[in-house]
Symmetry: D2
Subunit: 109 residues, 4 copies
């Protein structure tokens, strides 16, 4: 079994044992990702990255991944496929010759 | 090579070709995850989940995964490992017998 | 009429003319505040504050205020009162002698 | 003194007594608004709005207002002015005859 499939199966098992699928509609899963992202962000608030506790980053990032994998599962998305597709599309929005060394958004390039 | 390693290598190649590592400090990567999460959230704003365009969900979710993988790479986290560890820890915070069928937070159980 | 009341009345008039109250339930208003906050955040992404376009900050901040005022209106909160109350409560969580010059959270002080 | 000026002066006094201005750069204030917005959002997670504790909404909304006022103060924005200006601009993006009764974004109208 692929790595990602294994992670998703473990998450789904955890969810089902607790009968939580009833709460996990796509809208609330999207909320959960945003909330966990803000908890990650909070670790950096008023600080430089080097002053942040790496253990906590690990945990908050794991939470983001968990809800992102659960949302992907809801829609039967293949995570590898959708990320590689998006990279391809971003390659068109940010061609190397225009985007190199600049942090501008594609609509400002 | 594992699936996740392959995704991360593709993301890192994309980033390096554009000389973007200089912008990708952990704090700004955390910002990027939050921003992409809000773009996902916006798809659901004022709507029910079934009225949302699935193609767009795919794209926004791919963006979240991309920055989350890039942040994991920064800290050399093994994504599978950190998610499985977090699931284990959540199992302690949310034991089946207490958490089953309720959406309460662990500190209210 | 007080300044804040005047702002809220103008927002409510704008909303009602467009028959948007049906969409403005508290949960979606909370989503809207988060989304607008992320748009503000995006202005700072990969950048230093001094490189950010002040006009755009003005606009995104105005959007945050707008949805925050509309949510306050939903619950009939008096904005001045709730902010002053929260400052008082924060004064207890962050007493000057402990909190001075440090960015630590109250539970780490 | 105007109501908003009074709120801002109280916030600035609180901040200065704790010598926190050093942390309150615009980028981190924008982070703080996003983080507080997600704490508000969390109150609604997996829930319907009517099941949410109104007292907590009050507190989280007060936090959002506090950081939003502090960011406005950084740039010397007149809150009433910027909100009224944005409403005017939104009136052009969402003319009543097109926007009435629909939750579509202006670029889809």
């Amino acid at each position: 079994m692929s790595e990602i499939k294994e992670i998703i199966e473990t998450l789904v098992k955890f969810r089902n044992e607790r009968d939580w699928e009833q709460f996990h509609n796509p809208k609330d899963l999207a909320l959960a990702i945003s909330i966990e992202s803000a908890e990650l962000l909070e670790l950096f608030l008023w600080k430089k990255a080097e002053d942040v506790n790496t253990e906590k980053i690990k945990e908050e990032l794991a939470d983001i991944f968990s809800f992102a994998f659960l949302l992907a599962e809801k829609y039967n998305f293949d995570v590898k496929e959708i990320v590689l597709e998006k990279i391809k599309r971003n390659g068109e929005k940010y061609p190397v010759e225009k985007a190199k060394g600049t942090s501008k958004k594609y609509n400002e390039l």
